[in-house]
Symmetry: C2
Subunit: 481 residues, 2 copies
């Protein structure tokens, strides 16, 4: 059987950190190993494939050379490249091929670069509304440094691992703050994390198996979607409106499906900025209990609301696994977050946490403890005021510079604006145009588990100087015209 | 069908962090859900089971109550506890049972607490030769604190995530140091980790799938064994002698099996302290290439050897994934390590790293960069001298206080002594005895993937004051008599 290369399914993702030649290599390799391109199949000539993908010919040459070096294709002068004989279609690991040819299947979606982009330090001299980092002012730096200095006085913190559960006095402080928000929890229910993203991975790997379904918001945090993809989970999307997740959609799903958990960000949702109303919270927890499905509450922004909303955890600590972080309220470079989980799952999460990094840094935990005791509440108040001011600036600039029909989500708060471009404008095209004018943002498709977001984009208002907000928004408006 | 409870397979692990009632609950739950205890099976009366397991009756009562609350057993006054009806043996997730009853299977072995114990801060007032932490002197603290202070002068480090690959200048410094040890690598081959344990997890999850086989040393680092267990990998053990891993055994395995990778610690192996000789290194790399199996080289102690040995990575950067850490050379609380991987796997590891914690702390990385530039080499020299002195003290005390027949591994170096008790003495019994006399260590079974180590134990010479080494060893000798 010979399959023509005209049927070849092959696309490249220019936003990816994976070099394009490697993407071509990987996708052809997978199709060859899966038998979709059987022995003898002719690959497209290098020049044709390069034209079709709009890449340099040398990129395709490089990919083909690697495929040939790994024994997956044969190249002959004059007759081009053909899929090699692989002992009946797929080399098993006894055939002596290099180890990287027979790696396990790798599940990544179309936007594997998003998490990397969210962490990336460099954006050139663009006004980059990309990263969800705290604004430069108010800066926690001076107070933090003093707190580290005080903590560093005790040698123990710098030399030891510390308990995997986390530093006792810090867990107690966090439990106290959460009790003040209505959660009936104890310090021993708290597990310190190296950022709350770690908690999403712990949950994805501990509560579900590859192939299982879960429920997510649409749009939602792209980092969570990347984690769920890598874990092999199938995400069922539920829309979000100005009152938060559409719980009626959750109810419809639960009538026929058995998701392993429901991932939600009920307070100041990323990217929409909306907060779930009281009625929906009540209904969501009731539904979860009725159907025996736990809620995974991701709450990195909850303390930015004045006053902080009662988490879902306050409704039922047995059906909620709660995640939060100091990345958005102090600094991401601390890499410090926490989860609160019921006893029924705590040990599993703890053992996985140990296997991921033993324990979160005691040095950091000891420093943050002191900061929480002395400086945190004042910093939160200043941060809330700064965010409010930035949002007002942004709204005024949008009013002034954006075309009619390009609008932002109402009812939002916090770091982000979730925008919708006019129907005829795709956000990726708008981004390309805006980048030429010196402004950038994240396109909306990355926030959707399945389809959606083509016309949406997210502006992070915090990573740029406050004075640049107006100009950046003006440039995006110009790009949209 | 009714199965009598006399066949019930049930043991408890007193060393585990999991409470005993919860262990009983978990194991009975698994057997009920797996159908090993079908509907109607009578469970042992609480008092009998308590006696058999040597636990309090209330512990069993607690476990049974939780099983009943979750609908897994029925309790009737007078007729005891029976396995409940579960729609034909196993409740599916549509039957409305609480979510924690139908969690995915959980693979942990007999010693899940070991990683936690290695990280734990508290050992009472025992002389605890347990944790592999650097000795209190030479302390890196003062120089580290100065380095953090210098780094903190640049606000960027405290506020941002930083690249997921790690902080560029630090990666360049590390690549330079490794080039000096013979490795032909580039800074872009380095991926910064939140401790090298994280690298073991990345490798286990990226290179293998549940059910796959891998090769490990016997004995080896228990943390790695825990990670492999959680990942569902089956570890094939290869013995270690005074010249390192028995490569002839590896060769025999590769004749008939296809392990996904070979996990080895060729320099100053944990727990034996031995270093693989040059001939075996050569043969191991040749074997790996011939059979298409990558080597995972764990090297946290390599820089403690004067001069540092050339890693396996120096032999072939395409077949070696290299892991190392600053936990043993500066301080574990930094939670900072790195890996070096070929391009063929780097992106997978990077994307998984992102999903585990986005990026390692920029704050920590910036501080360590300065420390590496100014202070690290002098600190390493002082640390090597301190370790040498501690080993000499320990050997002298063993000579003096241990009974004939209790000996330690020859040819070792670094943090640990690997000891063998006389044939009639089990190390766990010796530990119980030593603890009563105020000394402790890790028993050997935790270092073996399968059987072995009953008569072995590991002494970490670094976590105790230097002056306590002799007394601690004396107490263990007394316990052995």
């Amino acid at each position: 059987m010979r399959t023509g290369w005209s049927e070849l399914a092959l696309t490249v993702d220019r936003a990816s950190i994976v070099p394009i030649y490697r993407q071509i290599y990987e996708r052809l390799r997978e199709q060859i190993l899966a038998g979709a391109l059987p022995e003898g199949t002719r690959l497209p000539p290098e020049r044709s494939l390069a034209e079709r993908l709009d890449v340099n010919r040398s990129t395709v040459v490089h990919a083909y050379r690697d495929l040939a070096a790994d024994g997956l294709i044969e190249q002959r002068v004059g007759s081009g490249s053909r899929v090699a004989s692989l002992d009946g279609g797929r080399p098993d690991r006894s055939s002596g091929v290099p180890w990287w040819v027979t790696l396990p299947p790798w599940r990544v979606g179309e936007f594997p670069a998003v998490l990397g982009e969210l962490a990336a330090a460099e954006h050139g001299d663009r006004i980059a509304f990309v990263q969800g980092v705290p604004p430069a002012e108010p800066s926690p730096l001076a107070d933090l440094a003093r707190s580290f200095e005080r903590a560093g006085g005790d040698v123990r913190f710098v030399l030891t691992y510390g308990d995997s559960e986390g530093y006792g006095p810090l867990r107690a402080l966090i439990a106290g703050r959460m009790r003040a928000r209505g959660c009936a929890i104890d310090p021993r229910d708290v597990l310190m994390l190296t950022g709350s993203t770690q908690g999403i991975t712990l949950v994805a790997q501990s509560l579900a198996e590859p192939g299982d379904e879960i429920v997510v918001e649409a749009p939602t945090y792209p980092g969570a979607l990347q984690i769920f993809q890598i874990a092999g989970l199938r995400a069922l999307p539920v829309p979000v409106d100005e009152d938060g997740m559409r719980v009626d959609h959750v109810e419809a799903i639960l009538r026929t499906r058995r998701p392993r958990f429901i991932y939600t960000m009920p307070a100041i949702q990323n990217p929409t900025g909306v907060t779930m109303n009281a009625d929906r919270r009540e209904r969501l927890v009731t539904l979860a209990k009725r159907h025996g499905v736990p809620l995974v509450e991701d709450d990195p922004y909850g303390e930015l609301a004045p006053p902080p909303a009662a988490p879902l955890l306050a409704h039922d600590p047995e059906y909620v696994i709660y995640l939060s972080s100091f990345s958005k309220t102090i600094a991401p470079s601390l890499r410090l977050g926490w989860l609160v989980a019921p006893r029924t799952i705590y040990e599993r999460l703890l053992l996985r946490k140990q296997s991921i990094d033993m324990a979160s840094s005691m040095y950091i935990q000891a420093g943050v403890r002191g900061y929480l005791e002395r400086d945190y509440d004042a910093h939160l108040a200043a941060l809330r005021a700064e965010l409010k001011e930035r949002r007002a600036l942004a709204h005024a600039a949008i009013e002034r510079f954006w075309p009619v029909g390009m609008r932002v989500q109402q009812g939002g708060d916090g770091y982000y604006l979730w925008a919708t471009a006019p129907r005829e404008t795709r956000a990726r095209a708008l981004l390309a145009n805006a980048e030429r004018r010196g402004a950038s943002f994240l396109f909306g498709e990355a926030f959707y588990a399945q389809s959606g977001g083509d016309h949406n984009f997210r502006l992070a208002l915090t990573p740029v100087p406050r004075a640049a907000i107006e100009e950046g928004i003006r440039r995006i408006g110009e790009a949209a015209r």
